[in-house]
C-alpha cells in the first residue's frame, strides 16, 4: 500500500472512531463502499420482497379495518425499500444494477421472506416477530457510520413503530379467541419464532463480514447481542398471550441477566439462504414478472416525455 492511501485510510478510521458520519462525497476505502452497497441494498431488497408474503393476505384480511392496516403496512415496506435503494445509489451504484443483482440471485434478502404465509395468524406473527426483530436491528443501525444509511434508518424506525404493534394486536385477539383461534396463534408462533431468530444472521464467530463491519461501525452491535435482546424482550410478550414458548430449552440465567436459549437449526438457515426455502423461486419469479409487466408503464411515460419535450421545443421556436 502506498503511503498516501495509508494516510487516507488512517484519517478515515479516525473520523469513524470519533463518531463522525461518512457522507457520500467523502473519501472512503473501496471495501467500505462495497460492504455498504452489499448490506444496504440487501436491506432494501428485504423490504421489497417482504411485501409478498403479507400482500398474499390483503384480499383475505378478516375485516375492512384489517385490510386497511395491512395495506398501510405493505405500502410502508415499499417506501422503505425506496429509501434504502436511494441510500445505496449515493454510493454510486445505479438502481438498475441493484434490481438485476436481486433478480439474478447475486444479491440476497432476508431469508425469512422465503417462508409462506399460510394463515391469518402468520400475518400477526410476522408483524410481531419479524418486524420486531427487524426493529431491533434497525434501532441499532440508526447509529451506523454512513450518513445516508443512518438517516434512512431513523425515518424507517419512526414509521415502522406501528408494524410490530398491529401484529401483536392480531396475536392478542387470536389468543383471546376460540380454542381454534388460539391454536392458530400458537401454530404461527411456532413456525415464525425460529426463523425470526435467524434474521440476526450467523453467530458472531461464524459471521463473514462482522468484524470489519464493527470496526467501520457499519454495524454497531453484533448479531448475537441483538438476537439476545430480541429473545429477552419476547418472553413476556409470549407469556401475556398465554401461548407456549417454542424454545423448550429457554431458561433465565441469573448470572448473565439474560435468557439462555436453545440452538438454532443452522442447517435450515443455510438451506433457505441458498435457495431451498419454500418460496425462494416464487418470490424472485414474482418480482421479475411484476417488473416485466410494468414495462409498458415505463415505456408510456418515456413516450409522453419525448412528446412533451418536442411540443415545448416547437412552441419555443
Amino acid at each position: 500500500m502506498n503511503s498516501s492511501l495509508n494516510e487516507l485510510e488512517q484519517a478515515f478510521q479516525a473520523k469513524i472512531d470519533a463518531e463522525q458520519k461518512i457522507e457520500p462525497k467523502d473519501w472512503m476505502p473501496a471495501k467500505y463502499r462495497q460492504n455498504l452497497v452489499r448490506q444496504v441494498s440487501q436491506h432494501g431488497h428485504s423490504e421489497v420482497i417482504g411485501m409478498q408474503p403479507e400482500g398474499n393476505w390483503i384480499t383475505r384480511a378478516p375485516s375492512l379495518r384489517r385490510k386497511a392496516v395491512l395495506l398501510a403496512k405493505v405500502q410502508d415496506e415499499a417506501g422503505h425499500g425506496l429509501y434504502l435503494y436511494s441510500a445505496t445509489e449515493t454510493l454510486g451504484t445505479p438502481r438498475a444494477d441493484l434490481i438485476e443483482a436481486l433478480q439474478t440471485g447475486k444479491a440476497k434478502y432476508a431469508s425469512i421472506f422465503n417462508y409462506p404465509t399460510q394463515t391469518w395468524g402468520d400475518i400477526g406473527a410476522i408483524g410481531w416477530l419479524v418486524d420486531g426483530a427487524a426493529i431491533c436491528n434497525q434501532v441499532s443501525l440508526q447509529r451506523t457510520s454512513y450518513g445516508p444509511y443512518a438517516r434512512s434508518m431513523i425515518r424507517i424506525c419512526k414509521e415502522e413503530s406501528f408494524h410490530q404493534r398491529q401484529g401483536y394486536q392480531i396475536m392478542v385477539e387470536l389468543a383471546k379467541g376460540t380454542p381454534e383461534q388460539k391454536q392458530m396463534a400458537q401454530d404461527s408462533l411456532n413456525r415464525f419464532y425460529w426463523p425470526a431468530l435467524m434474521m440476526f444472521g450467523p453467530h458472531d464467530s461464524k459471521s463473514a463480514h462482522s468484524a470489519q463491519s464493527m470496526k467501520w461501525k457499519i454495524k454497531r452491535e453484533t448479531n448475537d447481542d441483538l438476537r439476545q435482546k430480541f429473545i429477552d424482550q419476547t418472553v413476556p410478550q409470549i407469556e401475556f398471550l398465554g401461548l407456549e414458548h417454542p424454545d423448550k430449552e429457554l431458561v433465565w440465567n441469573e448470572e448473565r441477566g439474560h435468557y439462555d436459549s436453545g440452538e438454532i437449526d443452522w442447517e435450515e438457515f443455510n438451506s433457505v439462504i441458498n435457495g431451498n426455502g419454500h418460496c425462494n423461486r416464487q418470490r424472485i419469479s414474482h418480482h421479475v414478472a411484476a417488473h416485466e409487466e410494468g414495462l409498458w408503464v415505463r415505456e408510456a411515460q418515456h413516450a409522453y416525455n419525448v412528446k412533451m419535450k418536442a411540443r415545448r421545443a416547437s412552441t419555443a421556436a
Partner: protein, 95 residues
C-alpha cells in the same frame, strides 16, 4: 439573466456531520459556483455549517400551499399508520 437580475438559488446547509441539509434561504448568483461562495458568506458567517448545497430556484417543483388540504388529505383518515392507534398491555413493556 441580466446584470441587474442574477439567477435565484436556494441554499441548503448541513449544520453538522450526520444531519440532513436544511433549507436556510436563497440568494442571487451568477452560477452554481458563485452561489456556493455567496452562501458561505451569507449564511455561514458563524460556523453554521459543514456543507452547502445550492439549487436553482427555477429547478424546484413544489406542491401548491393553497391546495394543501386537498393535496394532503389522503392521510387524514388513516390513524392506523400511527403506533399510538394500537393499545399495548402494560405487561409486555415497550414495543
Amino acid at each position: 439573466m441580466s446584470t441587474e437580475q442574477l439567477e435565484l438559488f436556494e441554499v441548503f446547509i448541513r449544520s453538522s456531520r450526520g444531519l440532513d441539509h436544511k433549507h436556510v434561504g436563497s440568494l442571487h448568483a451568477e452560477d452554481h459556483a458563485h452561489a456556493v461562495d455567496y452562501a458561505r458568506d451569507c449564511y455561514t458567517r458563524r460556523n453554521e455549517g459543514v456543507s452547502i448545497w445550492v439549487v436553482k430556484s427555477s429547478d424546484i417543483c413544489s406542491s401548491q400551499e393553497d391546495d394543501a388540504p386537498e393535496f394532503f388529505d389522503p392521510s387524514d383518515d388513516k390513524p392506523y399508520r400511527h403506533a399510538t392507534y394500537y393499545p399495548l398491555p402494560k405487561e409486555v413493556g415497550n414495543m
